[in-house]
């Protein structure tokens, strides 16, 4: 099992290197101009909640290597925290942020409404999977991360539940761990999606299984590794896989009734002190380098021509994404229902 995985990773890596080798083309004129402008600005302040510390640090380092002369300051905090901080900066007219990357679309809808983020169409956006290419008609924000919510389970579980529905079966009573939609954007998306699919009856049956509700869905991994619970619902796909490769006894199951796909976004604030550097970073997100780093860390890549780790692709996985219209109201309602029914 492990050797197979390693080989897949190596294959993915080799494919990526080959792809990048084939693609060593001089940067476009537009890119050059943007780099020159960014270099003049001299530094770049990243406020990122998407991706865990290690992955975002690798992306930052790759950016620094490709664009010398720009000092990069990375503030990696939880999505909600960096968003609140930008709101505070806007309120006090002291914006420091040049690139905001959070896991919550509603942040960007809110910021766009108050005119706080600026339009930028990345030069290389056509490499992004088509479904995520035109998220905003004005290009005020673009995709920053693809996050999948799935089932994860202890390696001791011989036949894990194959679908969200299967989590409601008798063997999983008292075995499930999950996050709280009031604290985790990913779990909130999961609740909205599951209510759309199966209604509140699912939540009622789910509550009867006595799931352990932590804060973040990262806590599912903790509970599984410690042996507190054996199956995680609404669990982080990429992070669970990274833990597996680190040697931990955990694996993921992509549910037959669809993984829930949640997008992280990226935007440059209107009053960013280094707007060109911010835009250059947005463009860099869709570079081969970034997608290779993502693949290495088990994240879905942002380019169609760089495969994910272990040979997965967006097409090889069944996924579902919540429609954007009315999302804010649905999240509020989902959290309220969850509190009423589950805990």
């Amino acid at each position: 099992m492990t050797t197979l995985n390693r080989r897949h990773i190596l294959l993915a890596g080799a494919a990526g290197i080959a792809a990048s080798a084939a693609r060593i083309v001089p940067a476009s004129a537009a890119d050059d101009a943007l780099y020159a402008a960014a270099k003049k600005e001299g530094s770049l302040n990243l406020y990122w909640g998407s991706y865990e510390q290690k992955t975002i640090e690798e992306i930052r380092d790759a950016f620094k290597a490709k664009y010398p002369g720009i000092e990069v300051n990375l503030l990696r905090q939880a999505s909600q925290t960096v968003y609140t901080r930008l709101r505070l900066e806007i309120q006090n007219d002291a914006v420091q942020c040049d690139s905001l990357g959070t896991t919550n679309l509603l942040h960007y809808i809110d910021l766009k409404k108050i005119g706080a983020i600026q339009s930028h169409k990345p030069t290389n956006i056509e490499k992004v999977p088509e479904a995520f290419r035109n998220l905003d008609p004005d290009n005020a924000f673009t995709v920053g991360a693809i996050s999948l919510t799935t089932i994860n389970q202890s390696s001791k579980v011989a036949s894990p539940p194959k679908s969200w529905q299967a989590l409601l079966d008798a063997p999983w009573a008292g075995k499930i761990t999950t996050g709280s939609p009031a604290f985790s954007g990913d779990v909130a998306s999961w609740v909205v999606a599951i209510r759309k699919k199966y209604g509140d009856d699912f939540l009622k049956a789910f509550a009867k299984q006595k799931p352990k509700v932590g804060q973040s869905n990262v806590d599912t991994v903790t509970d599984i590794l410690s042996g507190e619970r054996s199956v995680g619902s609404g669990a982080p796909f990429s992070y669970s896989l990274a833990q597996k490769v680190a040697g931990n006894p955990i694996d993921v199951t992509v549910p037959e009734d669809g993984a829930i796909l949640n997008l992280g976004l990226a935007a440059v604030p209107t009053k960013a002190p280094h707007p060109n550097a911010g835009k250059l970073f947005t463009d860099f997100l869709y570079s081969v380098e970034t997608s290779q780093i993502l693949s290495k860390n088990f994240w879905p890549t942002l380019r169609t021509d760089v495969p994910w780790a272990e040979g997965r692709t967006l097409q090889s996985i069944k996924w579902y994404r919540n429609p954007v219209d009315n999302l804010a109201a649905e999240v509020t309602e989902g959290i309220a229902k969850w509190k009423e029914i589950v805990v």
Partner: protein
Amino acid sequence: MTLSFPTMPTRSASIGHLRHHMLRWIVLAVLLAALILLVVQPLGWILYNGLHDDDTGLWTLGNHRQIFASAALMKPVLNSLLLASAVAVLSTLLGVPLAWLVARTDLPGRGFIRVLTLAAFVTPSFIGALGWILLAAPNSGWLNVGWRVVTGAQAPLMNIYTMAGTIFVCTIYTVPYTFTMVSSALDEMAVELEDAATTLGSGVMRTMITVTIPLVMPAVLVSFILSFIQGMTLFGVPAFLLTPSGTLVVTTKLAEFYQLFPPALFLSAAYCLPLVIVTGGLFYVRHKILGRRQFVTVGGKGRAGRLIRLKKWRLPALAFALIVPVTAVLLPYVAIVLVSLSKAWGLGPVPSNLTFHWYRWAITENPETQRAIVNSLLYAGVAASFCVLLGVIVAYIVERRLLRGAGLLAVLVTIPIIIPGIVLSVGFFSAYTRPPLNFYGTGTIVIAAFVATFLPIAYSQAGSILKGISPDLERAARSVGASEGRAFTAITVPLMRGGLVAGWLLVFIPIMRELSVAIFLVSPKTNVMTTLIYNYKDGGNYEAVCATSTLLLAATLMIVLLARFITEGVARRRRNAASLGEVP
């Protein structure tokens, strides 16, 4: 009120008089300016924010009305009151006897217990909560697994995900406050009164209950209130331990406000009002209890280092004294250190899984950790020193009634600690990001926030020391011609010295372990250890969390022990001087 002296006819004396008044006004002016910048401004912003609507930005009383009218918003307040009251009562019941045992008796292993209690103090309570999750989660907790193996029982021995579990974890990490404050009061106290009681035939217990404890009452009450405030304002412990049961307290409810769109920052500010009212009530009660009574115990004479013999009570007393060291330090750190030494902690502590990688990574490979350790130590050191300086001056003015309205000053410097860190963070943000005070992104803003937040502790500690020092000594100095400033620096400060180092530690340590206040103020260059560790936790990197936590403990403990070593040296010299019959 000032002490008034008959005006002296000579010219030089009147110049001296003028000069000492000048000094006094300069000190007062600087102090007031500092307090306005550090406390009034941020608190003003919080008050202002609380009176505005989150959606429209207009003036409103709606936030306050909503809080008191809505059951869903009052429930967390009640839960917090329960948690805080229980933590305060239990911390006092554990901490006061513990301090007495360590300071006054021949309990075996006193030094060891002191150090471990300090180690408990140094541990951020959210890290303690992580340790206790590893120990006492109902299914996988090591203690529960062991219990099942030994007894064959099905049910777990304990479940940490309950209100009782939360009270327990909050308590064991709060006891060190009580312990440090009370034991410092005991250390500074002259033993003549206890000796008198013993001479008159009073037993050990009776002396303790009728003489010793009443004399350290100011310290006991202050630490009771501080424990209560801890129970109110801690975020990490209830967030980790109460989320599974869906129980909200004020701080976790605040975290929910911050998840809204846009984040309900103004409602959050208003949500602190019930906390301020309740804690204000506690301070009022303290004032009523202590107000007119005398607590002068330091008379300028040295104290003998005699210890009470526990005899047959030595072992039971030792068992009691070990409760906090074992539950707050030894057990959780076994779990934390084992995880920090794992390649992949899910594999458990087996030889093939052992590695020093995470320590090597944290110390030599990761510049973020290096910078954060330096920042934490630097900011905490600078902030604690400013805190003690301001705290002593304010306490001196208040205790010696040097100024009309000094009571107001006391209330002012006390408020910040009542307000949960996440709300304070927003207040400081508003206060220090506008010209001319544009400190955003610098270390100054973090230090200023730490000073203001922990000033109440420094002030309370200085106040309870001053209550024990007779003003007679200062009056004696003044009557032989010393100025107010000189009496303060030559008489009062040396008498306070031992207590001041304890006070410095009482501020330094909580700053090292503070998380929430810094959250919107740190920048990539000014990150501190706790915010870094919380980030690793957020990313699920448990091995890194545990390794950095262990390093945080080691670094803080080193400073703390160094400070203690220095104080003990000073105290010993002073005792020697006293025994030679000199005035210390």
